[in-house]
């Protein structure tokens, strides 16, 4: 059940990402809602599920975007695993920790994308890639994560995303 709910959330995030998120750009950068979900889910579920759900959500994103299949999968996997790594090491009740974690794991995920795109021959200027996409995007993601974390956490504890909701 919770996998289905997570899948629906990712799909909703993706639909928002390609339509309405365009209108909330800051300096030409839009938040990556799917990455935020991957990170929060990884943080609450651990490395195994974090990496798996990150990979699956990234694959869905790649299929939607239609370019460079695999880049989203691997960046999602890295972000999900990194967030899962913090699962047993950081307090889950503290939103400030989530703010930093979402920012950091988003940075790692986007860095993975950048390196893969470099390997694929896409010559994006490093200055723009680092400042605009890696730093600005990670900060933006961190803020979005900070806002939605409480509700997501409650749902994981005793809502549709909890283990008890399995049927």
């Amino acid at each position: 059940m919770r996998f289905l709910v997570f899948g629906i959330l990712v799909l909703l995030a993706l639909m928002l990402q390609v339509t309405l998120v365009e209108f909330i750009q800051v300096w030409g950068v839009k938040p990556d809602l799917v990455m935020v979900l991957i990170t929060i889910n990884g943080f609450l579920r651990g490395t195994r599920e974090g990496a798996f759900s990150g990979f699956a959500a990234g694959l869905l994103k790649d299929l939607t975007a239609g370019d460079f299949l695999g880049v989203g999968c691997l960046s999602g996997l890295v972000a999900g695993y990194a967030a899962g790594f913090a699962e047993s090491r950081l307090f889950k009740e503290n939103r400030i920790i989530v703010l930093g974690l979402v920012g950091f794991t988003s940075f790692l995920g986007q860095l993975t994308s950048y390196l893969l795109l470099l390997l694929a021959g896409m010559g994006l200027p490093p200055g723009i890639a680092v400042w605009k996409i890696l730093i600005l995007l990670s900060t933006y993601n961190a803020l979005i994560g900070f806002v939605i974390y409480g509700r997501y956490y409650r749902s994981v504890q005793k809502g549709l995303l909890s283990k008890e909701a399995n049927v």
Binding site: W27, V29, K30, D32, A65, G123, I128, K132
Partner: protein, 271 residues
């Protein structure tokens, strides 16, 4: 046999006759009351006024709760009506704006774009990532769209089709870092390649401009037609800055595109 002409009957008859005479005389008078009636009416007028006002106040007081309920219901109905009208105005404004944009596309089709067979498409989605600049439009293979078709807006070049499905097509914008467009400076005819810098960037770079050709700010950049994808002569943007590349052989110009990619809603795909 009773006597008719008694004193009582005679007096009664005289009184009746006098009354009849009085009525007949006053009928059709000039609108002035006789002094007695006038005095009586004027004297009673304040009392009439007071009583009428008091009656109205009592009536208002008694019917106030009912009136309040009615006013409340009317207010709710009016608010709903206002909301509906406001929504209608917004819808009509949206239709007006769409009409304006489509009119401009039509003008382009009938004017500059007359030589091309083009089809209008609406943008339905944008790239989910920050790395690329692509948009998805609502026309696909079934509408005769194929890869590498040029996409334009009335103000200038938008990009080219890179992927097609039966009902949609993915368009790579010229701001995408993977995009390269063979271009010319309109006045000096200096050639170069216009390349995207990054997704979300409002500028483009025109590389490989021969160093010996003078390029001025504000000059218009158009497609050169070389490379067999983009037709010749489509406006791309205006030069905002020119720099010499460190090798010294070429110049690089920064171009501001004529198309506002953030506000783009409809495009024309040249078949």
């Amino acid at each position: 046999m009773p006597r008719f002409f008694t004193v009582k009957n005679v007096l009664l008859t005289i009184a009746l006759l006098l009354l009849v005479i009085l009525v007949v005389r006053n009928a059709g008078s000039d609108g002035k009351l006789n002094p007695a009636a006038g005095f009586l009416r004027d004297g009673l007028a304040p009392a009439y006024h007071l009583m009428t006002n008091t009656g109205q106040k009592i009536n208002e007081w008694v019917s106030y709760p009912v009136a309040l309920l009615e006013a409340s219901r009317d207010n709710r109905e009016l608010e709903e009506k206002i909301s509906r009208l406001e929504a209608r105005i917004r819808q009509e404004e949206e239709v007006r704006q769409e009409n304006k944009r489509l009119k401009r596309l039509l003008e382009w089709q009938e004017g500059k774009g007359q030589q091309y067979d083009s089809v209008v498409a609406s943008i339905i989605a944008r790239d989910p990532d920050n790395w690329f600049s692509t948009v998805t439009v609502n026309k696909g293979r079934e509408d005769g769209i194929n890869s590498d078709m040029t996409v334009v807006a009335p103000t200038g070049l938008v990009g080219r089709v890179i992927n097609v499905s039966p009902d949609t097509a993915e368009v790579m914008l010229i701001t995408d870092p993977r995009s390269g467009v063979g271009a010319l400076m309109q006045e000096t005819r200096a050639p170069g390649i216009v390349e995207g810098i990054a997704s979300g960037s409002v500028y483009l770079h025109m590389n490989h401009i021969p160093a010996n050709i003078m390029v001025t700010e504000g000059e218009t950049v158009i497609t050169s037609g070389q490379g067999s994808i983009y037709p010749k002569g489509i406006a791309i943007g205006a030069v905002v800055d020119v720099n010499k590349v460190t090798s010294g052989l070429f110049k690089m110009a920064t171009i501001k595109p004529y198309v506002d990619f953030n506000r783009l809603e409809e495009v024309l795909i040249i078949k």
